[in-house]
């Protein structure tokens, strides 16, 4: 394991190679183990995240994909201790192994002061809505300087110079330092957010739907920039989105989340070409493709289960075209896909393999009331 931060074009490649090997390799930067998060409500606990294991490798782009309400944000904010009551971490550990730290630390065991030092300096977050995350009455420069001063000891002049160089980094002209957020376009605001996250050279950058509000041209531009910065500076990225098509292009590995649990984890290639879990298959069949022949598209009919009353067995069963009664007793363990050569390609569905044909039209047990379409039968590659 190298600890230098030079411009190494091989960083990405090695990151990918490491990632596909074992989960608990020493190159894991952030290791989420058995994490469970519940929301306490008068109507009972909502188990938003249920015993999730996820490891982020050094220099890796790990994509976390799921629908709204799947628990992907709760997982990440839980792991970084950003949740407040009624959210409650009920189980698990989050081990961070930074190059600047002498030994691994467990984020869930840390005191407030330790956490404060770790946040941003080691683990930074780019939030979804740049419009809300930036302070509307502060100039861009002052916000950058604030972020720098909160985490690094540095004279004011030096911090200002650093703020300017951060804007250079993300391709915004320095003249914008004196702008207020409302004077910037959506893409520029998102770039400022990225610049802020990188202000203290963190090792892990968490990106929560950083491009959702942007249109495709700007989105692509920003994603390309993120990849470029990652290669240059050598941080790791945990990228949260509901858009699987983005991750297929961007991520090294992809974790698919549904109803608080992981359903499938694999490399981007495996997720696309050896798709194992029926939910992942549904996601892949959900976005229109611009190139190639027009495919029959289906989406995923129905909606996610109410986590106050989780169904027995597999939570995807009510929407699954492959579902059988045996699915009500599945214990949702992530196990290697039998047909895959990579033991790190895991799925929670013990029945469906990449080449399993879609069964004849059936109404899955307890099919959802709203949103069943005549196109249900089209699901499948």
């Amino acid at each position: 394991m190298s600890t230098d931060r030079t411009l190494d074009p091989a960083i990405l490649a090695t990151g990918r190679a490491r990632a596909s090997s074992a989960d608990l390799s020493p190159d894991t930067v952030l290791d989420i183990r058995d994490l469970s998060v519940a929301y306490r409500t008068p109507g009972g606990d909502v188990r938003a995240v249920d015993r999730v294991n996820l490891a982020l490798g050094a220099g890796e782009v790990l994509g976390l994909v799921g629908e709204s309400g799947s628990g992907k944000s709760t997982l990440v904010y839980g792991a970084t201790r950003l949740l407040r009551a009624p959210a409650l971490i009920t189980n698990g550990s989050v081990i961070y192994r930074g190059r600047r730290l002498s030994r691994p630390v467990d984020l869930l065991e840390m005191g407030p002061e330790e956490l404060r030092r770790l946040r941003w300096r080691e683990i930074a977050i780019v939030f979804q809505s740049a419009m809300n995350a930036l302070n509307p009455v502060l100039r861009v420069r002052d916000q950058l300087v604030d972020a720098i001063h909160a985490h690094l000891k540095m004279p004011r002049d030096e911090a200002r110079e650093k703020a300017a160089s951060l804007l250079d980094l993300v391709g915004i002209p320095r003249s914008r330092l004196r702008s207020y957020p409302h004077e910037l376009s959506g893409g520029m605001r998102q770039r400022v957010m990225i610049a802020m996250a990188l202000a203290t050279e963190p090792e892990v950058v968490i990106m929560d739907e950083p491009t959702t509000a942007l249109d495709v041209v700007v989105q692509r531009d920003i994603l390309a920039q993120i990849v470029e910065l990652k290669e240059r500076l050598g941080f790791s990225i945990l990228f949260i989105t509901h858009d699987l098509s983005l991750l297929l292009e961007l991520a090294d590995r992809i974790a698919v989340m549904y109803a608080g649990q992981l359903l499938e984890v694999g490399t981007a290639e495996e997720i696309q070409h050896e798709t194992s879990h029926p939910y992942t298959k549904g996601l892949l069949n959900s976005f229109p493709s611009l190139h190639g022949p027009r495919r029959e598209l289906a989406g995923i009919p129905g909606s996610p289960p109410d986590l106050r009353y989780p169904p027995p067995g597999c939570p995807f069963l009510p929407r699954c075209p492959y579902g059988t009664t045996a699915c009500e007793e599945v214990d949702m363990q992530l196990l290697p896909v039998i047909t895959s050569s990579d033991p790190a390609h895991v799925t929670a569905c013990p029945f469906v393999l990449p080449d399993t044909p879609v069964p004849e039209i059936r109404t899955p047990p307890g099919a959802s009331e709203a949103g069943d379409l005549s196109t249900v039968a089209e699901l499948g590659p």
Binding site: R220, E269, F287, L290
Partner: protein, 347 residues
Amino acid sequence: MTELTLTSAAAERGPLAMEAISIGKDFRIGRGQILHAVRDVSFNLYRGAVVALVGESGSGKSTAARLLAGQERLTSGRIQLDGKPVKVASRGDFRRYKSEVQLVFQDPFSSLNPVHTVRYHLERPVKLHQPDANVSQEVAALLDQVRLTPAQQFLPKYPHELSGGQRQRVSFARALAARPAVLLADEPVSMLDVSIRLEMLALLDDLRQRFRLAMLYITHDIASARYFADEVLVMYAGEIVERGPAEEITQHPAHPYTQLLVASAPDPDNLGSALRGSARRAQGSQSASARRNPEGVPAVGCPFSPRCPFADDRCRQDDPPLMQISPTRGAACWHLDIAAPEVVAAP
């Protein structure tokens, strides 16, 4: 205004419902500056057909929809509904117009009133636009049409009790309550999860067929336009820069801006081509030119010229009109022969 005689690819679906004829809208933005949000835009909507208006934020596509909906005043041009000029001056006129032309908004979280139930949202337009109808029956039928069933279960709910997809269904039902001929859908699915977008588009498609709606589908996702629309209009800086049948436009874009849009769409069938690592796309110039010109749109010449890889002096001087490529297709570019030789050469 332009000399060309294009036939809309949507025309074969049904009779003409609405015409936008050289419509334009200027906004004053202070210090005597004027923003031309929509410039000389013409298109037709036909019953039972979908026309997609595609462009990035700020291209004027939403303004165009608001003009058609009668919610903004035209600076120039005119709009005709069923061959007659549109009147929205008086309250009564506006209401009559609204019963023919309805708008669905992008954000189902803010377009429904949080303090009112689904029942209230639907009863009001039914009472307004169908005074003779049996209100509760009609409301139940509406919910059924957007597949919020059983209706009784959804009627007493408040917007916060519904998922994003269900909320957008309520928006659709509210628009349908007026029994419109024209439905203007402004990014109807872009706030929703990817997994339910298709379902919503399939629903819109079903409604289009069932009610023979003339639909304007506004989006920045050109891939969804390929699947959903008959004709695609690509808008940039307030102008239509390319138009034609959806499949042709997405498969063989002619205008450099359309080409950029198509190249920017996430492409799962071409994995690893673009973003990841060393396999960076050879067309780095495309990406670089995609960076938005900080000066904005030039006052003269082609609005896309600052970002265009093919731009020359002529482009910076004269704004090209829409030029005919085929009977159903046109593009506004001086250099189509360089930008899209295979499209222009085709018979």
